[in-house]
Symmetry: C2
């Protein structure tokens, strides 16, 4: 196999992923484990890093390593202070937080402030720059769906603005812990596309999210819809409310980055509103880390 | 003491309240217990009723009893089918659900339907008609805050429309179970009025509730505000979003019915937007039950 140029690591709250990347971006090997921030004791990061990646590093002495995600949070290995928006790839590369100087570094997260209220991301910035590189874009509107979805505006190669939506977390809470949970199935295995579409559509109607949610309860009281329909409708209401808040210009193209399970739903909801969508998987993180590594050396 | 004319009961999900009322509405005696629907085994309602109110009924043979609330739900004593809106006091009185004919009855809840989506209330309808009687109104906009807040429109003495908001339940979930809970105090003992006001105000700004919520997290990451401030701000965001969805006409007066803890918050938020508010306590239910009892005899 080609010689690896970078050990790329995406170390999140509950999981970690790593990849050996060739200088042309080819993924030579991958590793994933459910060993996220929450499973690592204070002071245990260097040991955890060695346990996960020691074999690769022994096989490739001197290989540089770049890490993104919650590994750089206050509860992480080393706190990598947020880089303020607007920020481009070079800004991030200049503010890498070195764990082992010249060898192992953590990518800083981003912060932005609107009307005195801050917002933050950590890990998604790397996926954004990876997506821009993969698609050859310097201007884009991106969504990175998840527990806390991020909507990102890029102009002239710089992230100029972003906003976080607690859509995924609120969905999980309502789905599992609220009164609505009583009539919903245990998982989303039975997906009802028409119900999801109806939810997206209803979320655009007057009334507000807190009201629209209650219809899930009322529909079940009258036995109008079954559990799988209602779960898909609930998902549509929440993603639809997130889209309503964007107030995207008509026809605005969107890049959706993340797991296909989620980006498929966003693509469907956005298409319903006339927005073309390009989807990219989480491999955008590898491209982003390689680009940052190159920029840091430059 | 005067002779009681009615045993009035408000039997909810987690608690029950009862009162002996004179024919002029005077409360002669009251009883409350944490014995709501959830604590009563199937088939156990008659026994529970006797255990709670047997002594009063023995002392006043033949006293009529009217009950409102979840006692009339599918999991209650007898299911009292919803009465469709528009509905006035006479409509409700005509559809009382008799448990012991001529003696003990349950007030039906109300249903309404907009664009194929139903909404329901059970118990609040009685408080609404009580509030109208107490204030001498036949036209009003009312809010009944709670786990599931109700906004009610009354025209010509009839409830013509209402809408449920899951505000209280979503607040509790976010407050106790979400990532936001980590930096919030255990209870709302330390109330910060200025933070609540800021939340109400921010909820009117573009961005949407799912986004505004995340600022609670970001503000704590930067140590900008402490836990009590953030909890009050969160409450303001949710109540503020509920108000935003109302899009009330400028200067529209509102009647708030419920516990002072909640109606005080709604009054404050509504006043911030220029709406005069009159508050009534849950005793409005007694007035409503007495009026229904009179209408049923008439």
């Amino acid at each position: 196999m080609s010689e690896p140029a970078l050990l790329a690591v995406d170390w999140g709250t509950t999981t970690l992923r790593g990849a050996l990347l060739a200088s042309d971006g080819k993924v030579l090997a991958e590793h994933a484990a459910p060993h996220g921030l929450l499973s690592i004791p204070p002071g245990g990061w260097a040991d955890a890093f060695a346990a996960e990646f020691g074999a690769w590093l022994a096989a490739h002495p001197g290989l540089p390593c770049l890490m993104a995600g919650m590994v750089g949070s206050r509860q992480g290995w080393v706190e990598a202070p947020y880089c303020a928006c607007p920020a481009n790839l070079a800004d991030l590369a200049a503010q890498l937080c070195w764990v082992q100087p010249g060898r192992v570094a953590i990518v800083p997260g981003l912060s932005v402030e609107v009307d005195g209220l801050p917002d933050v991301m950590r890990g998604e910035e790397t996926q954004v720059f990876g997506a821009l590189a993969l698609l050859g874009l310097s201007q884009a509107t991106l969504v990175l769906p998840g527990t806390h979805s991020k909507w990102v505006t890029v102009q002239g190669g710089r992230i100029t603005h972003f906003a976080t939506y607690m859509t995924g977390e609120v969905y999980a809470l309502l789905r599992q812990q609220s009164i609505l949970a009583r009539t919903l199935p245990a998982d989303d295995a039975a997906w009802v596309a028409e119900a999801f579409d109806r939810g997206v559509d209803q979320a655009q109607a007057p009334g507000g999210l807190l009201h629209h949610l209650f219809a899930v309860r009322a529909l079940s009281l009258f036995d109008r819809q079954d559990g799988p329909w209602l779960a898909s409708y609930l998902s549509g209401l929440l993603i639809g409310d997130e889209l309503r808040a964007q107030a995207l210009p008509a026809g605005q193209a969107v890049v959706a980055v993340g797991s296909a399970l989620l980006t498929d739903r966003y693509q469907r909801a956005l298409a319903q509103q006339g927005h073309p969508v390009r989807q990219l998987g989480a491999e955008a993180a590898w491209t982003g880390l390689l680009a940052l590594s190159t920029a840091a050396r430059g």
